[in-house]
Amino acid sequence: MKSRRKRYVRFRLHMDGPPVSDKQLASAVRMSLLSIYGEVEVADSRFFLNEYDESGGLGILQCNAASLDNLMTSAVLLSSIDGTRVSFEPKRTSGTIRALKKRAT
């Protein structure tokens, strides 16, 4: 069986309004991916929010390598989450979470 390669992305969610929780963010990203690329892409993406700091908006997400571009496009096109206006900024991508954290320090 072909192994699924993962990608980890460090990001910042710029917010204008009340803080957005991890559940709200994950749901909004999935809904945007569903709206633009469809149900199969949501299923294949294996999107998961690894870390997320509500106050600062910094976080790390993981997804299937093949779905990375579509997932990022969907997140970037988010303009508001439950009344909070947002701007999603992908900062760095890596194949392992360890490398991502190492580069952050």
């Binding site: 710029h14 204008d16 709206s35 633009i36 990022m72 096109l77 701007s87 900024e89």
Partner: protein, 230 residues
């Protein structure tokens, strides 16, 4: 050097917030239609503010006059795609930097012949992502359709593409990397996206910086040293 070529700063009081956001997102500069004394200037936080003129008049004569007037005071001149004769004229004129896709998009299209003229005179197609942010579902698919078609026509003709935010508030600005991902949605590959965000805007800025210099005489002619008149 990423420059956001289209930021709609409403007034001078709001400029600081846009400049701060631009720095946060990693832009080295942004263009705005805000009237300034110089065509470009460095702000306190190190970001360069470029003066932009959107030529929103009808008829070739009026556009010619507006472009002539704006060239010496603006770093970026943009003509929106609309009437085909005006668009073709603007595409051919080397003083015009950008052919922009206006919003609302009804009836907007980039003709092959216009794109070829633009490619020959190095006029770029500007696509602002703002219309994609405010809509969803079927409405977004209509916007995507128009933008993808324009992008494809520009690519086929070899016309340069510039991706900008078109934001009217700091939070609607997107980072250069984020703009690259939107480029993928519009049909560009990653390299093309990077070119549209990092390379082409910077090239336009550098070209016009030279043109606006007092030593510039014409294409390929500039004063390298001034002699002593006595």
């Amino acid at each position: 050097m990423p420059i956001d070529m289209n930021v709609k700063v409403p007034n001078k009081e709001g400029l600081d917030a846009f400049a701060q956001m631009a720095v946060k997102l990693g832009f080295t500069g942004f263009a705005s239609t805000l009237s300034m004394s110089d065509p470009f200037e460095k702000l306190e936080n190190g970001v360069t503010l470029l003066t932009r003129t959107d030529v929103n008049v009808k008829g070739i004569r009026a556009v010619t006059r507006a472009v002539e007037k704006a060239r010496s005071s603006s770093t970026v001149i943009s003509v929106p795609l609309g009437e085909s004769r005006v668009a073709s004229w603007a595409a051919e004129d080397s003083r015009v930097d950008l052919l922009s896709v206006p919003y609302p998009l009804k009836g907007v299209s980039l003709r092959k012949s216009t794109a070829k003229l633009a490619a020959a005179s190095d006029t770029a197609l500007e696509i602002s992502i703002a219309p994609l942010l405010g809509v969803s579902g079927l409405m977004r698919s209509k916007v995507v359709k128009v933008l993808r078609e324009a992008t494809q026509t520009a690519l086929d003709a070899g016309m340069p593409i510039v991706l900008s935010s078109g934001s009217d508030s700091p939070i609607t600005m997107r980072s250069p990397r984020a703009l690259c991902y939107v480029g993928l949605l519009l049909g560009l590959d990653w390299h093309g996206s990077e070119k549209a965000v990092y390379e082409n805007p910077d090239r336009i800025f550098e070209r016009n910086k030279k043109r606006l210099s007092p030593d510039y005489v014409g294409p390929g002619v500039e004063i390298v040293e001034r002699g002593d008149p006595s």
